[in-house]
Symmetry: C4
Subunit: 201 residues, 4 copies
């Protein structure tokens, strides 16, 4: 039995909205009498950094989720479960980001970067699982308006994800900063839709 995706999207939006705002709770208000305020505020930079970075990463994931569900019009039980798995991964993002911010430049930065990159590798696998399941033609979960070439373009763009994040994970052994730079570039790559310049509507 398949139903439409309205509630799946509403529930996902709620989870995204909470995950994206969660790290503001980690930013503590400096109390009066705890020293010069400017110094106290500046000392908290890892909190600001992880708040903004999580916001950007989860925001880009939301844009991708939104983009997929302009094509996915019906859902069945397995799609609900794959979507929940993806949301589980996304809800976890603030944690490795905060661990990375707290340990970058310290003796444990390699461990923190491994945790961070592994999270993204997992999420890219879950995005592929969700999309490939929905796009499989015999399930008829996509909108009848979706043309086959759009589906192929998204499938191709997404299939690069796990491979590239695996390279990021391997790069951690060589150079932590380089691996993070590649990770950030990948976020920009996924912010831009597949086959942008050829898209017509």
């Amino acid at each position: 039995m398949s139903t439409d995706t309205a509630r799946l999207e509403a529930f996902s939006d709620g989870v995204f909205a909470i995950a994206i705002t969660l790290l503001i709770l980690e930013i503590k208000v400096p109390t009066a009498g705890g020293g010069v305020l400017t110094t106290q505020l500046l000392r908290q930079w890892p909190s600001y950094f992880s708040f903004v970075a999580s916001f950007a990463f989860i925001g880009i994931m939301w844009i991708n989720h939104h983009r997929l569900f302009t094509h996915i019009r019906r859902c069945d039980d397995l799609l609900l479960i794959f979507n929940l798995l993806l949301l589980l991964g996304i809800t976890f993002v603030p944690f490795p980001t905060a661990v990375l911010a707290a340990h970058l430049g310290g003796p444990d930065q390699r461990t923190a970067a491994v945790l961070f990159q592994a999270t993204y590798l997992l999420i890219s696998l879950l995005f592929n699982l969700l999309w490939r399941y929905a796009a499989s033609s015999r399930r008829r979960l996509l909108s009848p308006d979706t043309d086959a070439s759009s589906v192929r373009r998204i499938t191709r763009q997404y299939s690069f994800g796990p491979l590239l994040y695996l390279i990021c994970l391997a790069l951690v052994r060589v150079n932590v900063l380089a691996s993070l730079l590649v990770n950030f570039s990948l976020a920009c790559f996924f912010a831009i839709p597949a086959g942008r310049n050829r898209a017509v509507k």
Copy 2:
């Protein structure tokens, strides 16, 4: 007076979304200088376990709620109240899960398991209350498209719940791990829709 269920679903989705993400707040970011990061991260396994377990359990409950409300199309005042009671139970889930994770293997694991199993017994009773109220034919809250055999299948599947969770609760006295294994199997049972293989659309 009966109205449609759009707002009931939107509000429930919000409560589910918050309940499902709440336990990520319990996972603390290890600070630099608190020892080797890998050790610190591994020591927190009860937090990860309860986060993932709550996510899975609440996710399955959301799937069930979603499934019921593909049939329930109208709501009245008592349905709103029964839905609130169910949400109260679901919002509580992260607490017994975290208590269980913190005490599993310790001297108080039996108490923790009783609390955990009793919560599920209560929730299964509340699911039955909601469904049986809505499905009662004279209230006309179900969609006219719902056929009587689907209603009977759901009613039958749900009626097993309280009995099986009661057995789980009794099993705690005999063997804590066995009772938890039965509980986890039940979650899988409720993830699969009633009469899956016979469903036609």
Copy 3:
């Protein structure tokens, strides 16, 4: 300029959902080695009480909000502002409830009860403000399906609120427990729709 109420309801549902689940965060997980688990769990009863009480009160307010907005179909700028004021009051509910639970039976229970009753008095005034503004015939914010007698029944039921909560507040001086009992009865009164037995649809 007036617009429909879809987003006002969605935003309100989000705020209600957060307010209603917030107090679960106040229930702390007892750590292993902190004494016998049963004792630790039982000692937290004020937290459970305020969680359940806030849930019930905010749930009833949500039912009332839902009921009003089955009649209100259009919104203008002042309605948005009055709705925000009401949400401000509702978001505040968990705080006086927790203060009351922490101090009931103690030397400061009167202060806690005054804070609690004053919050309800304020909210009942804000509910009246919202409804009377929307129901004023010259603003045409109500659905054309709403009959004048339903409007009058709701107006009459709501106009009792501030008076009755004022009596509750005065009762605190005489007897704290009596004032709370009247408050709880009032919640039940507002859970039941105006003119229930005469409602037809």
Copy 4:
């Protein structure tokens, strides 16, 4: 490719709802035995002030967001990104508000006020970015019902924002309280729609 704005609005409503209720978490429940309750409650005034002020400011921003999206009917990828940037700014509001409340009247009030005013300057720039992008006629993101004069009125009202908040920021050097008073008056200015008295529908 452009799609409708339903999910963008639902996701934004979720983020607004969380941001607006977040500061209630900062209000601590005074424990029994910590002194006279009234004194303890009154001593927390900066928490109440920042809760109410954030609620008011974010509420007015929500009204503005709601107002813009009665005109914006389609969204594209850049609009999603500009909307995320705006939400990032809005989610941050509780932090500078709490810092201001904690330091007002203290030796660091100037630093706190600079942080507060700079946040509003940034948000007013992001509101302009979002609106000007959407209103640009060649993108066709506005509803066909929107008349050109409404668009011009909103554009004009919003273009004052950055300039006025820049003046507020400069005023901090001269007089902290004066700069805050101007900031609060601006909030009232943006609560009222552009060209209120001339609006027809």
